[in-house]
Amino acid sequence: MTSLPKTTGKKLGLVTDLDICVGCHACAVSCKEWNAGGHSAPLTDTNAYGKDPSGVWFNRVHVYETDDGENTRTVNFPRSCLHCEQPACVTVCPTGASYKREEDGIVLVDAEKCIGCKLCSWACPYGAREYDADDGVMKKCTLCIDRIYNENLEESERQPACVIACPARARHFGDLGDPDSNISRLVERRGGYALMPETGYQPVNRYLPPRARKDQAGDTGTADHLDAAENVDSGHSFFNWLDKALSR
């Protein structure tokens, strides 16, 4: 059914910390690895080892540069389905293959019903849907529906593959509809934001903005004894010498 549920019991989603994402693509690769055998399998690759490879991925990691005239910054930016609350990707679907689950808000495609008209991918502003030309159906992030409820996995493993894979712990999973959940508190504390609110799609996922640079951040809370080495006088001429020699 492409009519949207009025409310969803939970609002499961992801939070991505742009301050600490190192852009290693581990989340994207791990997503590909899990989902190539999961709910939406296979994620077809064409010409994988040729000159012009292409394939279906649910997660893509962009790298942006910001420039305010004085300073530039590099921001790594993973992009995947945001499991929107008002997703037109669902309402435009003519077959009912696309739907939003009432119990947890996850947006899915029923591969048995999809006719591969591609309209849903046109309706998604975030580029979260990729067509599998081999299967003739649309594919997208499932929030690892086959992991998060999977009783065959250890409790700690019942999280999306991208969250588990991230070596920097830049990705978090949880119920963004519950204001007291850890993930909601994290969003609150860090001023997490939704992408392109002007679309009216109301994404569930949030991004945590890069923190202010050290020179603009005021008191960073660093303990005095950890501050720059030149301020340290150990009282020992040997150590002072060593400090100077090593600081050169």
């Binding site: 292409s54 790298v63 942006y64 910001t66 435009v92 003519p94 309706a123 392109m196 002007e198």
Partner: protein
């Protein structure tokens, strides 16, 4: 947006078909023109053939054509589904309407009802086609008030060019009628002109800075793309034609779609018999070519919000 030939073919061919049905049904209801019944039947059949060609072309373009029937189910929310439902509903009405011209078994009241239903359903189907595009907020050059009028006007104008042949074959292609078709053609391209003016002046509501939410850090540009070669998103939604080419093609569309058919219609008004038929056929072919170029541009000039994430602009 990628200008897929199946969609261009579908919208122009079925648009012309519905346009012709609109003219024929209007003629039947108003009695504005005296058509020879046999010619009217052939006209109806040509219209249905054009519609069917369009529908089949878009169906075979699907990943799973054998599941196409499922597309009728979500009419509550989806304009694509509504288009499918209206397109299918048009068939029974149009078939009764076609038969009614020559078959006495269709009583006049049924014929009037069938003509009305054909007229209304044809209009609504074309409007639904326009709405499929106009409802997409992700593509500002489609999400505006000009898209549906353009689809409707182009369908009626191309149907009008077809209709002149029906008239000529019924020896009823008088000068006033050809002038009327010319005016309709002019209005349709004026609507398109208004659309072009509108998209040329549209201020993009989003940039890479607003899309990523990083704008407060300064100008945002893409330093490194997520993948080394094109993916589905860029192939399907990243296609964009350079402005200077678009300007040339717009001129070409106007020449093919308006100027040349206009000249042919004027000449046809001054001739009769076989010469008139040839001139009107030329007007039709040129007019349709103009619409195909216009439709190609409709896709090629449209930019999708996802390209913002790839550092492009809307």
């Amino acid at each position: 947006m990628d200008p897929a030939y199946s969609v261009i073919l579908f919208t122009s061919s079925s648009g012309a078909g519905y346009g012709l049905l609109i003219w024929l049904a209007f003629t039947r209801l108003s009695g504005a023109w005296a058509l020879s019944p046999m010619v009217a039947v052939i006209g109806c059949l040509v219209a249905l053939a054009l519609i069917t060609t369009g529908l089949l072309s878009s169906t075979f373009h699907l990943g799973h054509p054998e599941r196409a029937w499922r597309a009728m189910s979500q009419w509550r929310t989806s304009w694509l589904s509504r288009e499918g439902v209206f397109a299918i509903l048009t068939y029974p009405a149009a078939l009764v309407f076609t038969a009614g011209w020559i078959w006495d078994a269709v009583p006049p009241i049924a014929m009037t009802l069938a003509a009305s239903a054909t007229l209304i359903l044809s209009l609504v189907t074309v409007i639904s086609t326009g709405m499929i595009y106009a409802c997409l907020k992700t593509i500002p050059r489609w999400h505006n008030r000009w898209v549906v009028p353009v689809y409707l006007a182009m369908a009626i104008a191309s149907g009008g060019l077809l209709f002149t042949l029906v008239l000529a074959a019924s020896s009823a292609a008088r000068q006033q009628t050809l002038i009327l078709v010319m005016v309709v053609l002019l209005i349709s391209w004026m609507t398109k002109w208004a659309y072009w003016r509108f998209i040329d002046r549209q201020e993009p509501a989003s940039t890479t800075g607003t899309a990523t939410g990083l704008g407060h850090l300064g100008t945002v540009s893409q330093l490194e793309a997520p993948h080394t070669s094109e993916n589905y998103l860029l192939k399907e939604m990243g296609f964009s034609i350079a402005r200077k080419h678009a300007t040339k093609l717009r001129r070409m569309a106007l020449n093919l779609g308006l100027l040349l058919p206009g000249i042919m219609l004027v000449l046809a008004g001054m001739s009769n018999g076989f010469a008139q038929l040839v001139l009107l056929s030329a007007a039709l072919v040129l007019g349709l070519a103009g619409i195909v170029v216009e439709r190609w541009l409709f896709f090629a000039e449209a930019r999708h919000a996802v390209t913002l994430f790839y550092g492009r602009s809307l």
